[in-house]
C-alpha cells in the first residue's frame, strides 16, 4: 500500500484477517474498511476463499490406489513374517527396529529359562541345549517342583547352560536373584495367565523378560501352536551378530512351559 493509494492490498487484508497486523495499523485498517466498499469487497473475497475451500467435497480415494496400498501393506506383513520350528511367528511391528529384530538378534551364549507362576514363583523348565542341536526342555521341566506359593522352590529350579553346549548347573549362584546371577547368561521368564498384568511381561504370549549379558537382547513374538497361544523368544547378542542364535519356543496355556529350544544356525 503506497501512501498515495488509500486502498489496501490483498496481502495486507489477508494478514489483517488472520490477526497478524500490529495494533496501530490494525486500527487504521479497521477504520478504512468501515468506509471503503472496494476494500470491503476484497475482504469478502478472502472470506469467500475460506468458505469455498471448506465447502470442497473431499475426493474419495481411487479404488486402484487403495488396492495398491493394501497390497503394499500385505507385502510388508509377509516380509516381516518369520518361522520357527515350523510355526509362523507373528512379529509385532511396533518399533522401528523390531521388524528386523527377529533376524537381527544375536549370537550364542548361555540361556537360562525360568518359568514363573503368578509372577513370583519360578518353575524349572530349563534343559541342556547343545550348541548345535535342538532340544526340548520338557524333560528337565520335570525336575521342577511347581509350587506356586514357594519362591524358594522356584529359585532352585534355575538352570543354565553355556555357549559351548556344556550344561552347567549353577543353581546355587542363581538362587538369590536369577536375573542378577545370570550376568553372563540370558534369561527368559514365563508368566502364567493370571499374571497377565505383570508390568515386566511383554506382549507376546506369556514371555516376560528375555535378558542377559550386557549387549544381549531378547525379543519375543507370538506363535499359534495349533490353537494354543504360544510365543518364541529369540536371544542373541545384537552387538556382535545379525541373527538370533537361540530360539525358545513356549506354549502359553494354563501352565506355560518350554516346548523346545534351538540354536539357530547361521
Amino acid at each position: 500500500m503506497s501512501s498515495t493509494d488509500p486502498h489496501l492490498d490483498l496481502d495486507v487484508l489477508a494478514d489483517h484477517l488472520e490477526g497478524l497486523t500490529g495494533s496501530p495499523e490494525r486500527d487504521r485498517i479497521d477504520q478504512h474498511l468501515r468506509t471503503c466498499d472496494r476494500c470491503s469487497a476484497l475482504v469478502a473475497d478472502l472470506q469467500g476463499v475460506s468458505s469455498t475451500l471448506a465447502a470442497e467435497p473431499a475426493p474419495a480415494i481411487p479404488a486402484a490406489v487403495s488396492a495398491r496400498i493394501e497390497q503394499a501393506l500385505a507385502a510388508e506383513r509377509r516380509d516381516a513374517t518369520t518361522h520357527f520350528d515350523g510355526h509362523q511367528v507373528v512379529v509385532p511391528l511396533d518399533r522401528p527396529r523390531r521388524r528386523r529384530a527377529a533376524r537381527v538378534l544375536l549370537a550364542a551364549a548361555a540361556a537360562v529359562v525360568v518359568v514363573g507362576v503368578g509372577g513370583t514363583v519360578l518353575r524349572d523348565v530349563g534343559g541342556g541345549g547343545g550348541a548345535d542341536e535342538a532340544s526340548t526342555a520338557g524333560g528337565s521341566a520335570d525336575q521342577s517342583s511347581a509350587e506356586p506359593d514357594s519362591p524358594k522352590a522356584a529359585r532352585d529350579s534355575v538352570e543354565s547352560y553355556d555357549t559351548d553346549g556344556d550344561v552347567s548347573s549353577d543353581e546355587r549362584a542363581d538362587q538369590e536373584n536369577p536375573l542378577r546371577s545370570a550376568q553372563s547368561k540370558a534369561l527368559v521368564e514365563l508368566y502364567a495367565p493370571q499374571s497377565a498384568a505383570d508390568p515386566l511381561r511383554e506382549r507376546a504370549g506369556c514371555v516376560g523378560r528375555a535378558v542377559g549379558d550386557p549387549g544381549w537382547q531378547g525379543t519375543s513374538y507370538s506363535v499359534d501352536l495349533d490353537g494354543t497361544p504360544g510365543a518364541v523368544a529369540f536371544l542373541g547378542d545384537r552387538a556382535t551378530t545379525k541373527a538370533p542364535v537361540e530360539g525358545i519356543l513356549v506354549s502359553c496355556g494354563d501352565e506355560p512351559r518350554v516346548e523346545g529350544r534351538h540354536r539357530i544356525r547361521r
Binding site: 492490498d9 490483498l10 496481502d11 487484508l13 489477508a14 494478514d15 484477517l17 488472520e18 490477526g19 497478524l20 476484497l42 473475497d45 478472502l46 469467500g48 476463499v49 475460506s50 469455498t52 475451500l53 471448506a54 470442497e56 467435497p57 473431499a58 475426493p59 474419495a60 480415494i61 481411487p62 479404488a63 486402484a64 490406489v65 487403495s66 495398491r68 496400498i69 493394501e70 503394499a72 501393506l73 500385505a74 510388508e76 506383513r77 507373528v90 512379529v91 509385532p92 511391528l93 511396533d94 518399533r95 522401528p96 523390531r98 521388524r99 506382549r203 507376546a204 513374538y221 507370538s222
Partner: protein
C-alpha cells in the same frame, strides 16, 4: 467414504494396540477407516494424483513400521495425518515439485483417477477443477497450510504441529495463500463480475485452466 461399517465397534487406539501386538488385520482396518481423508490431504497438498498415491503409500508403510512411535495420548488420525504431511513434504523436496506445475495434459484421466464419483453435475466438477487448479498455483507451504486449516478443519495450532512450524507461520502462509487465491476463485461467487479473473490465470499457468 465407501467403507462399509466396521463389523466390530473397536476404536482406533484399540486397533493400534492390536497392530502393535502383531494383529495382521488391524492396521489395514485403520487404513480403510481413514484412507479417504488421508488421500484428500495428499492429493490437495501435492495437487497430483500419481504423486499423492506415492506419498500416501510411503506414509502408510512408514506408519505401519513405526507404530511404536505412536503415543496413546494422541489421536490416531492426527498421527497419521502428520506422517502423510511429512511424506508429502519429503516427496516435494525429493522431486523438487514446482509450486506452479501446469496441470497435466490428460486432465480428464487424472480427474477421473482422482475422483471416481460419476454422475455429478458438470458445473460442480468444473468448480472443483477451478479450486484444485487454483490451489496448484500456490507455493507448497501455503497450499499445505490452507489444506489443513481451511479444508481439513484443523486449528492453526494443530496445523502448526503437523507442519512442524510456529503458529504464526501457519497464519501467515494461510493469509498469503488466500490473497493469491482470491482473484482466482472470485468467479465462483461473482460469476457475472467482469473484473473477475476467468478461471485460473496464474502467471506460471500455461495450460489446463479451462475446465470445460
Amino acid at each position: 467414504m465407501n467403507d462399509r461399517p466396521s463389523l466390530e465397534p473397536v476404536d482406533d487406539a484399540e486397533l493400534m494396540a492390536r497392530h502393535q501386538a502383531g494383529d495382521a488385520a488391524a492396521f489395514e482396518e485403520i487404513f480403510r477407516r481413514h484412507r479417504d481423508r488421508l488421500w484428500a490431504v495428499a492429493l490437495r497438498t501435492l495437487g497430483d494424483p500419481d504423486q499423492a498415491a506415492d506419498a500416501l503409500q510411503d506414509a502408510m508403510l512408514s506408519a505401519f513400521r513405526r507404530a511404536g512411535s505412536f503415543r496413546g495420548d494422541a489421536q490416531v488420525t492426527t498421527w497419521l495425518h502428520r506422517i502423510v504431511v511429512n511424506a508429502c513434504i519429503d516427496l516435494t523436496r525429493r522431486n523438487k515439485v514446482r509450486a506452479a506445475d501446469p496441470l497435466p495434459a490428460d486432465e480428464d484421466r487424472r480427474l477421473a483417477l482422482a475422483d471416481p464419483r460419476v454422475g455429478e453435475p458438470a458445473a460442480r466438477i468444473a468448480e472443483r477443477h477451478d479450486v484444485r487448479a487454483a490451489l496448484a498455483t500456490l507455493p507448497f507451504d501455503q497450499r499445505a497450510a490452507l489444506v489443513l486449516v481451511n479444508m481439513e478443519g484443523y486449528s492453526v495450532a494443530e496445523a502448526a504441529a503437523l507442519l512442524d512450524c510456529p503458529e504464526g507461520t501457519v497464519k501467515s502462509r494461510c493469509a498469503r495463500g488466500r490473497a493469491r487465491l482470491a482473484p482466482l476463485l472470485r468467479p465462483l461467487w461473482n460469476p457475472d463480475d467482469p473484473s473477475s479473473v476467468p478461471s485460473v490465470s496464474g502467471p506460471e499457468q500455461t495450460q489446463g485452466g479451462d475446465p470445460a
